[in-house]
């Protein structure tokens, strides 16, 4: 039903856009920290905001709101929904 959108990092998503996490680019360190807080492939995310050009990104995941630094957010690859 949903048409699969192109892959893009969280940082490139638009405000209020939703998508599914597909992959975490980057080493075990980043993957581990993100996984601990619930950012793992397969989860649905909704982007809430970007603070500034290279500022942190806030997202909603499992009804929790998370804030990720820009570098980390750029490593989270998302397939946008429709």
């Amino acid at each position: 039903m949903t048409t699969a959108g192109p892959l893009k990092p969280l940082t490139d998503m638009k405000t209020d856009e939703t998508g599914t996490i597909v992959d975490i680019l980057g080493g075990e360190g980043v993957t581990k920290r993100l996984a601990a807080i619930g950012v793992i492939p397969g989860k649905t995310v909704k982007k809430i905001s970007s603070i500034s050009a290279r500022g942190p990104v806030t997202i909603k995941i499992d009804r929790a709101q998370l804030a990720l630094g820009y570098g980390m957010a750029s490593k989270v690859l998302v397939k946008a929904a429709g």
């Binding site: 807080i37 793992i40 603070i51 804030a67």
Partner: protein, 574 residues
Amino acid sequence: MKILLMGNPNVGKSVLFSRLTGVRVISSNYPGTTVGFTRGFLRVRGEKAEIIDVPGSYTLDPSSEAERVAAEMVNTGDVIINVVNATNLERNLYLTLQLLERDIPMVVALNMWDDTRHRGIDIDLNRLEALLGVPVVPTAAIAGQGVRELVDTLPQARRVANPPQSRDERWVRVGQIIDQVQQISHKHHRWFERLEDASVKPLSGFFIAAAVLSLSFLVIRYLGESIIGYGMDPLFEGLWLPVLDRLSAFLGGGGILHDVLIGKKIDGAIDFVQSFGLLSSGLYVPFAMVLPYIVSFYLVLGILEDSGYLPRLAVLMDTAMHRIGLHGFAIIPTLLGLGCNVPAIMATRILESRRERFIAATLVAIAIPCASLQAMIVGLVGGKGWVYLAVVYGTLFLVWVLLGAILNRVLSGLSPELLIEIPPYRLPPWHLLFQKLWMRIWGFLLEAVPIVLAAVLVVNLLYLTHVFSLLADLVAPVVTGVLGLPREAITAIVVGFLRKDVAMGMLALLDLGARQLVVGSVVLAMSFPCIATFVVLLRELGLRDLIKSTAIMLFSAVAVGGLLNAILSQLGIH
């Protein structure tokens, strides 16, 4: 028996701990309030059991000091109470599964249970219990519900010892459990949720931050001033002064005992600020000058903490904070430092790297004046005009920014990025708010008042024995030459090591001009922190980093004080 309270950050472990033990602990609505562990006792079936409030952690593979504490403690427990946030089960069960792999009996407390219904969350308790293999007890710690049932269930704690799984396997399992036990019915956007989103969007977010911070400042100031103007001053002038006048007459109006107890008379009368006796300034400074601001500051801070606003401020500040080598979350220890540097430096444990902790702790110790010192600065420097007050605060802010930027450049390594969970907004639970406020006020009274009295006594004795004049001769070149302060100011700086508020009170005795008072305040704020801060710096940073931090402190205090003196002199300000 040793019971461990474990769970994700900000799920209400500390509130539950208070309920279980009657021990009062500080709780707030942001992840990482508890950085050390607190122990208490409760009775399980008539038997005394020890219970420990373990810092929150998402996983047993640690990435911060607080998580390291949790990971190390897990093996020391006889029973684990895994506190789980019922409104966000899927995020909490990962740690639950990890804990179930340990060979330790466990009970799950499904906390915030009262919050699930209006959020449209329905959890099948029996099914969850069957899938996890341990008892599950719904609780609402803030309201005090389910606590008794939880204690009664402890003897039925079950040892599961599941075979260890990989991270991905655990997440798959979490998904399977959630599918079977949880149903969500869609609820409309609540008013709070709109406000939550608006507080982290660029435009509305900064507008809200500006409004919240200026409102906080105004409330702290007016509440503090009102307590002084309508409460403390009338009390001291109307009730206490007549008593002291009589005592003074009784002691013959002079002599050693008179000077120690009541102090020197200023223009023939007792002056609560300048007389500097144990019963005059020794009581007036802590109770009438500092306490009112302690009350107003911690009331406002408590509301900010419990509403859930602070993590949002951290997100907004992140980009700016990176320039001083910290990420946004470091704003929380910094704000705590405006109250007292001791808990602020302990709170730097929520920062991940050693480098960040060093920068944050050093900046707090040097550039963040505590409430006691600020109350005195506002009282004394403010009397010379608000411009001078602005110069003191402006200088300290500049020092904070510049020193942070320099440390960020000089120290090797990079600071990690921000990664936090932002809690939902919550109306502060008033009973917890006032309990926390009372704990902090009581802590101030217990720790500050005896030291203030001791400091005043020591000052009087040192004056009598002329030790100060020897000391003053020794450092006179720096104090008079570079800082442009009278030699006697050195005594204040030395006393600052005991209590900053008393030290500031001593500066008031010297009949300083505006320039000298400004320079004195800044140097006092930046130079040696008080002894309590010093001890906690040693504990948190270790001896080597403490020496490094102190060297930076001394150098920057003299440099900034000298520069400020030169600039203000150039401007012709005495």
